[in-house]
Symmetry: C2
């Protein structure tokens, strides 16, 4: 239940996680409703390291809907924001009519939205998934909506629907034209595979790549390989991936993850004009991972890349210290830079000489800016502590000092 | 007819061209016979700029088959060399038995082979196509073989079969198990499209990439997209490409060329572990070409990349001067380096400011080492001038001074 302040401002604050797909979403069959051409599957990252926090408020005194993102007021009229607001209000109205005709919050009240990320945009992590998940979750609490929220979040940003759950989450593509069966579903909770760890290798990129919305549109229009992937490759991969996760079969999970990342980037290259998200550093990380695994004759580490050059690495807890040290060796950071590893702490490790020789790569100084060390985490949740609201009693963003 | 020297050494010298595919060959259905999983199509480059010269000699005095490549004796027992020698001898024997039982050159005589390229290996151009084409063509002359030679060259190096003809050449994949119908065929002669020009942009690469033989093997084994490409994409593209060439339709020729290069590299990325031939410079060339075309709202320039980072550019004569100047602007060469453009001479051109602004890329100094400016050329031919033999009367390589 939202609290109501003395000034008749009702307010809710929630947080939501980032997710990283291991079976990639690329291509829509319906641009408006954001319906995908294939199912996808992701791992929800822990909010201790990466999260969005959003406060939503409504009041009869507000003149209009407004939104502030990372300290800056943005245009509330963006179509996708409007989709989410409209859908939530529709669900709320439906519920009121059904069950609760005397609700205290009038749906005609305008909302104020304020949202911040605890990670720099420069990290190149898609923040829209966490952002829309958090918005939809917060609004649902404000308006006491209890429905399938992933359908609403999906209409903000496709992959946002997967950030509505913790752990391992699939987004079933669905078949219906109205998108009602295109929903996210938890495959396994965040407690299911406690040894799994995630490293985000932040690569210093010089250019802004093609945005994913226009990129996937061009891919759907021009890539014959993408169509084959969506229709004939992904369905079997989804089944295999779910089995690998349920059975905690790391080698299979890792191989499928790498293959699917590569295939996604292959379809980008098959797009016309071609789209490139991987750069020479990304490629060096890929080679490093394959040589690392080859040295141990075991798939210990997996990479995946979204629409940018940053690598996300999946591995088991036991191998984190050595692999981080390997990355540090082949991508030596600036000695007077900030901390190289952020997030969960990492033990120090020494590198076997034969590993360094087996990898046999020229080090690339400063190729990787820093690493975020994190793990699988829970879905969105409400923040109880009222002092953490991002909006003040006046409904405006609190001044940060 | 081969000449016979006083020392009973019969000798023939021939030259053969490089070819650059516009519909790519990647993947074999038979490793032994070198039968491809799809048809391909290439442009034969002019030998004034890029050629292999090979002298073959035989004599009763030679003790064994021997080969010298670019001044260094190599192992004659490589299986693919042996395939070509065996096939030529078999064809020669067949012919003798059929028509010419008293031929003066005994097939049991051993051969000496000496071959050189007029372009540096460092240019990263696949020399095996020109090399095997030249070997097979020379041997056929030495042994007076008159048969479908592309079948023999194919068994040395797949793409070598396309270097057996000038102009525009298709390699029909064939259907037979014995490969007899997997042959090269001229689509149009070198005189067909006189305005067409070819620029080889030699990119300074730091690493040796995965060889194409093992690369395509891994692709066939692991890439689901490659199979789809070979079975469902290439057949239609071959038809479209042949029509575009026959109709001198540059825009269609160029678009298909770029799309097919991109799709080939996409299947390399879909290979597991993935294979990368394009580097950041290659990608900048790709972006440059697309922005150049976009500026003129016309497809004036096409890129294609083989198993390495070098770009091969197709364009019409009228646009060479300006495009070369554009490349020089965005990849400024070392001021005290050698000549930037080798081969056919290029007029100087000034760049419109609005073109530079439209391309809007940071210049990358020394990203491209040099450009070879060439055009479509003829197939293999015999060298009449005896002073140009690479082997002396003793059957050993002439000393170069």
């Amino acid at each position: 239940m939202p609290e109501t302040s003395s000034q008749n401002v009702s307010m809710v604050t929630c947080t939501a996680p980032v997710n990283i797909a291991v079976i990639k979403y690329w291509g829509k069959r319906d641009e408006e409703l954001i319906l995908p051409i294939n199912s996808s599957l992701s791992v929800t990252l822990h909010q201790d390291q990466l999260k969005t926090t959003t406060t939503v408020a409504c009041s009869r005194n507000f003149q209009e809907d407004r939104i502030w993102l990372n300290g800056k007021e943005e245009d509330i009229n963006q179509p996708r924001l409007q989709s989410c607001l409209r859908e939530i209000r529709r669900l709320a109205r439906k519920r009121r009519n059904d069950e609760d005709p005397n609700a205290e919050i009038t749906l005609s009240h305008r909302v104020h939205i304020c949202s911040v990320n605890n990670f720099p945009t420069a990290a190149g992590l898609a923040s829209s998934a966490a952002g829309y998940a958090c918005l939809v979750y917060s609004l649902s609490r404000l308006f006491s909506v209890d429905a399938e929220l992933s359908v609403v979040a999906r209409q903000g940003s496709g992959s946002a629907c997967r950030s509505m759950y913790g752990g391992f989450v699939q987004w079933k593509m669905g078949e219906r034209k109205d998108g009602k069966d295109s929903v996210a579903e938890q495959v396994a909770p965040e407690t299911h595979w406690p040894e799994l760890r995630v490293l985000v290798l932040v690569v210093s990129a010089d250019r802004k790549p093609v945005g994913s919305t226009s990129g996937m549109q061009t891919s759907v229009q021009t890539s014959e390989l993408l169509k084959h992937r969506a229709d004939h490759v992904v369905p079997a991969r989804m089944d295999d991936m779910i089995r690998a996760i349920q059975g905690q079969d790391f080698a299979t999970f890792a191989e499928l993850t790498m293959k699917d990342s590569n295939q996604f980037h292959a379809t980008c290259l098959d797009t016309f004009p071609p789209i490139f998200y991987l750069n020479d550093i990304s490629r060096r990380v890929i080679n490093l991972v394959h040589r690392y695994n080859q040295h141990y004759r075991e798939t210990r580490v997996a990479y995946t890349f979204d629409a940018g050059p940053n690598a996300v690495i999946y591995l088991l807890q036991d191998h984190v210290a050595e692999f981080v040290q390997t990355v540090r060796h082949f991508f030596p950071p600036e000695s007077n830079g900030g901390e190289f590893v952020k997030g969960l702490s990492v033990l120090s490790a020494s590198l076997p000489d034969e590993l360094i020789r087996a990898i046999s790569m020229e080090p690339t100084p400063r190729g990787i800016s820093y690493i975020i060390n994190t793990k699988v985490g829970p879905g969105p949740s409400a923040v109880d502590d009222q002092t953490l609201h991002l909006l003040g009693a006046d409904g405006l963003p609190k001044k940060t000092t």
